[in-house]
């Protein structure tokens, strides 16, 4: 019935591949960068890969609204950060974009568009195609997303095999490559290990490898580096920046660490009690905040953060 989902499956996917192949040439990336936007067609503004328009999320059981309208637009290669305390609706908003709102929550208003297609009324089968290949996510608690009784490499290879139709052997090889790309020191060894044999930081990198395995256009990183050691976090931030530049990956970054958001994002949303209290460029929001809640978050960050003892001069 819906021709758009058919398009998602066939036409768009093909177009995507063509686009990505084009992006691989350094010229195209360079042109996009000088144009001040992600890789896009030379004429007009780049079309968004993800667009949330006044998304409202309600609790069906309680009959009340929890998220009171979030709007954001992600173009290829761009990054939007969402900050705010837990319970502010950050994670629900991300889950709405992924179509995985847990019961009894549901989108009660507004729209979510992935690659120009409204996700309302998408069949589960279409979602399966979309997730991983077009939009994927990494959450904070990596252990709960992996199967404890299957070797890590096999779990990644499974994603590669299903999403990209590669042979078993090619998928295994690709799994090791992906583990190397997330800066795991001994990817062959890690690939043959079970989740319980890995530290939290290693598991988180495995999850990131899974998330980027099928070459998504949008990655939602919900506190993805929070549990990592600071040097590993630096590697992951570099990796995400590389992917943005190289493949035009667009990011939604949810983090309690304002410095991580400042580092990665072009635009920032500040949420509180389900409301976006401030939204704008990262520079404006983090360095010239207007809302008192944003000011409070920044003051707390500076009081209980490295900024307490580090001045820009010393860093220079």
């Amino acid at each position: 019935m819906p021709p758009l989902s058919e398009k998602l499956l066939t036409g768009t996917a093909k177009a995507e591949r063509a686009e990505r192949a084009q992006e691989k040439t350094p010229k195209a990336t360079e042109a996009a960068r000088t144009a001040g936007a992600g890789p896009a067609s030379p004429s007009g503004p780049p079309s968004p890969v993800l667009a949330l328009r006044d998304v409202r999320i309600g609790d069906r059981a309680g009959g009340r609204e929890i998220v009171h309208g979030v709007s954001l637009t992600l173009t290829p290669g761009s990054a939007v950060g969402i900050v705010g305390e837990s319970g502010s609706g950050k994670t629900l908003t991300c889950r709405a974009a992924l179509g995985i709102l847990p019961a009894p929550f549901e989108v009660t208003g507004g729209s979510v568009e992935i690659d120009g297609h409204d996700i309302a009324g998408l069949f589960p089968a279409r979602w399966t195609d979309l997730r991983g290949a077009t939009i994927s996510a990494v959450f904070q608690d990596p252990a709960s997303y992996l199967n404890p009784s299957i070797r890590v490499g096999a779990q990644i290879a499974e994603v590669v095999r299903v999403k990209q139709g590669r042979s078993r052997r090619a998928a295994r090889r690709r799994a090791v490559e992906l583990l190397r790309s997330v800066q795991l020191r001994d990817p062959e060894l890690v690939s043959s290990q079970y989740p319980h044999e890995l530290s939290g930081g290693m598991l988180q990198r495995v999850l990131i490898a899974v998330a980027i395995a099928a070459g998504p256009r949008i990655l939602i990183a919900d506190e993805a580096t929070t549990a990592l050691d600071v040097t590993v976090q630096a590697e992951i931030l570099d990796l995400l920046a590389d992917l943005r530049e190289r493949t035009g990956l667009a990011l939604v970054v949810v983090s309690h660490d304002l410095a991580v958001v400042a580092q990665l994002c072009d635009e920032v949303l500040v949420m509180r009690h389900g409301e976006v209290v401030e939204q704008g460029s990262a520079e404006d929001v983090l360095h010239h905040p207007r809302h008192e809640y944003t000011r409070l978050l920044i003051a707390e960050h500076e009081q209980y953060g490295l900024e307490k003892f580090r001045t820009p001069e010393e860093d220079a």
Binding site: V83, E85, S86, S199, G200, G201, T226, A227, L228, D229, V230, T231, V232, Q233, A234, L237, D238, H256, D257, L258, A259, V260, A262, Q263, L286, H287, L297, I298, E300, H301, E302, Q303, Y304, G305, L306, E307, K308, F309, R310, T311, P312, E314, D315
Partner: protein, 293 residues
Amino acid sequence: MSNDTAGFGPAPETTGSEPATRPVLEVRGLEVRYGPRRRRRHALRGVSLSVAPGETVGIIGETGSGKSTLARAVLGLVRASAGSVVLDGEDVTAHGGRQWRALRRRGVVQYVFQDPLRSLDPDLTVEASLGEPLLVRGVSRAETARRVRAFLARVHLTEDLLGRLPGELSGGQRQRVAVARALVTEPRLVILDEPVSALDAANRVQILRILEELRDDGVSLVFISHDLGSVAGIADRIAVLYRGELVETGAAREVIGRPRHPYTRLLVRSAPTLRSAPADRAERAALRALLPA
């Protein structure tokens, strides 16, 4: 194993010093080894550290640096293969279970872990959990009830939570209950191993504020974390662990603002701040190249 390794490092100086300035914790030449005899490795090597009354010492380092082993060795949960641990003037290095229980009853040291479910009994209500250590020590029921409420207030929780089980609390509330439980016996030293790492920004700041209030009350804290920002926010002094050895110890301002050891520089420069990007790959590789192999 031979006995003479027990005397490794300088002798403890607990005898001559004034009780008022005597360190609450004095770790000397601490060594912890693990693994089978053939492939025995050091988890900690030659670690010396002292914590003064009312002082907050932060310990930073990465996964596998020995941070948690240090906490566990201080608490008697792993055995030192050399060196000594002196808590409030008492050498606890060779203490057995009974001596440790006596020490805990005296309220010298308490601990808080990252996961409050590990320090709280899932079947005990908040009131029972907080009251248990007091009742064990023979405090009357009336006095226990009074103190439980006082400490609940101290961690900014309300009395309506007293009847709840840990599973019925939010993560932030649970960690505050764990802190309150560590406090009811009024210990002189609290060891906190990644106490805010599982919390969101608001709860993280709330716990850090509570810890600051504790410090102002004269409680000594050892704050272990991979999160440099939290440690910078709360510690008077910071010790940096790298592969089981302390590579730098100093005032928080110095260690964060002007790190001397390449490993400390690598850690500090790897973290972004609101105003500055972290060191790029080349700079990090250059710092890494300076580290002992």
